[in-house]
Amino acid sequence: MDFGQLFTNVLNEMLGPTAIAYALAAIGLNFHFGLTGLINMGQAGFMLLGAYGFAIATVHGAPLWLAFLVAVAAAVVFALLLGLPTLKLRGDYLAIVTIAAAEIVRMVGRSTALTDVTGGSEGLTGNVFKHTFQDASPFPDDRWSLGPITLATNASNSWWLRIVGWTLVLLACLLVWRLIRSPWGRVLKGIREDEDAVRALGKNVYGYKLQALVLGGVFGALGGIVFVLASSVQADSLGRPVTFNTWTILLLGGAATVLGPVLGSLLFWGALIFVRGFLRGVVPPDALTVQQIEQIGWVLVGLTLMLLIVFRPQGILGDKKELAINAR
């Protein structure tokens, strides 16, 4: 088997838009779970809303900045809708409500009734909403090679998208780094450790939780935009498993750390592509089909999530003493 090609694929995936999108979504989830202890099981819903907001605004002629704002606003409204009723309840209620709400967004998005707006289950194809982003690129339309990777400069899954995406990830990490050390971040961590103690100190716990939910949701929406700029807006591609993958990524890299979500995303996608490519090269094609090999990869993801949360809940970078997970 061709290991050179395999490692090129792995490297390409690790630097690619999927890894960027999941890193952003996991950074958002880090605000929810890592800092505040909220169990958000609907991060895919935030991503999908961000994607729809961006794409539909662009289709209706909005400039790039406005489309971004629409996506962010959609996530903020969604977070408020979810948070206002549920943040006073116990933790697993938020989990059930967020997962249900994300499913509602997906089902409504793929419904035939909204085909004119969302494209139904076929979704919105790339050529109707990518032009504003691609036109904003300073590069000429060309194909550039860096090492073994050759990509278009601007179109779709491009260098331009990678540059913008990783810049977003870098800015997000800087923000997390500053916020964790701020008084605001310390209150969030306090809520995670002991909500009643923070309340006794006179802090508005409910308000802080709501702020964390909104902020994390906005990063989810940004991740959703990056995700669809590389492919198309299709409701079923941002379903429940996307949320579960994001959780695996966060727990793998380390919750409540600055670089954990990014490291988790790099390792997750690198490992997944490696396992798949390796099995495809090793297993004779008549023994397992390509789809079956893909499923083996996802079974491994599920097992990883189970083992991580039991044996190493702090992940690779985390501090076990810091991360006590309590249901609230």
């Binding site: 549920t86 116990r90 249900a100 499923q295």
Partner: protein
Amino acid sequence: MLALLTALTTLGVAGSAQAATTPCSPDDATACLNLTATVPGTGPVAGVALTVEGEGTTVAATTDAAGKAAVPLTVAGEYTVTVDESTLPAGTALKDPAANPATVTVALGRSAGRIVQVVPAGEAGAEPTTGAPTSGTTASPAPGASADADAGAEAEASAEASAGPGTNRYAQLLLAGTVFGVLLALASLGANLIYGTTGLSNFAHGELVTLGGMTAFMAVQWWHLPLWLAIVVATAAGGLAGWLLNTLLFAPLRRRGVGITQQMIVTIGLSLALLSAFLFFFGAQPAPIVSGISQRMQLGPVQISAQSLISVAIALVVLAAVAFTLARTRLGRATRAVSDNPALAAATGIKVESVISRVWVASAALASLGGVLLALYLNTTRFNFGSTLLLLMFAAITLGGLGSPLGAVLGALVIGLVVELSTLVLPSDMRYASALVILILVLLLRPQGILGRAERIG
């Protein structure tokens, strides 16, 4: 009803046609996969659902009035095209079923094509088509590739909900909702028992439901057992799975003192692993337990199939048996004591771990039995059949009150009725969404549910 179906069909076709008016044009970063469904010599076939999968993405498409669907792709490579045979017009079949799924190689900047040839079925009527033919909904299975778990089963409509002429639509939907509610109650009761005794929201409960359906499918279609024996085998398989899960996974976790939130995330990982394992073994296509449509009986203004009637009867008997066990037997009293206060129950000499173990067996067995009966009601099972229903089951038990068994039954009936009656005002592919809206509203207004105790909300 017919008018609704016609309207839906038109809506779906119009939608597809609209989507197809933005034709895919290949460029540097885009490749086009043009799919055509046609009856040789007759013309195009509209409303055929296709799934294009490969290189990390999955795209669902439906052929338009011209029988065409164009799928733009941004990564070159090998894609598999799967035709959802249940969306072919009634009385037709694929000309070459062996060539489904087919593999197509796609290169950027080019167009690739695949023509699906449809022919009249050899024996008319032998085709196991479900109630609503080609309503324009598309199914896109495969959780892995694009990570979309639940598309498939949402397209499944029950035969009961789509009755033919001679029935009153409202009465028919009421009946369908009640039937669905009773079966859902059976499937979700176990999740509620687990929550009551251990406090765990089991996200893998849906996979236990799938396990029941799939075991029955194997028993009938592969091992040629009679249906009643298949139901017994599936229930036993569920019970065994529940015992294994508790003994090998959750009992050790409780002994280690792993928190309930971590255990919940463990069940999520488990659900993802099991879902992918089902897809690995059974593929994405529907797996009907019994092929062919069962005879429907006319009862006043409504029609019901014998299959559904027997399913409901079994469900009611089992529900009554569970209620009796909980209320009157030693084990039932012990179970209620543990859900009330495990420490106090242990202090009075109840073996808490042994009760929890039995609750796991009962919970998984009930889920599997419910899975078989729901599969009979919905005419088919599929790898993601249970995970689609998971949130409806959560909705049912939350609505009734977490930890309250009678509440779960009530909640399931409400959810069943909401799901079916919502099709009066909403498109049928949004019916599950309406149930989830109810779930959120209940949490907002009465978080302890209909019969729950207020202290549980913390």
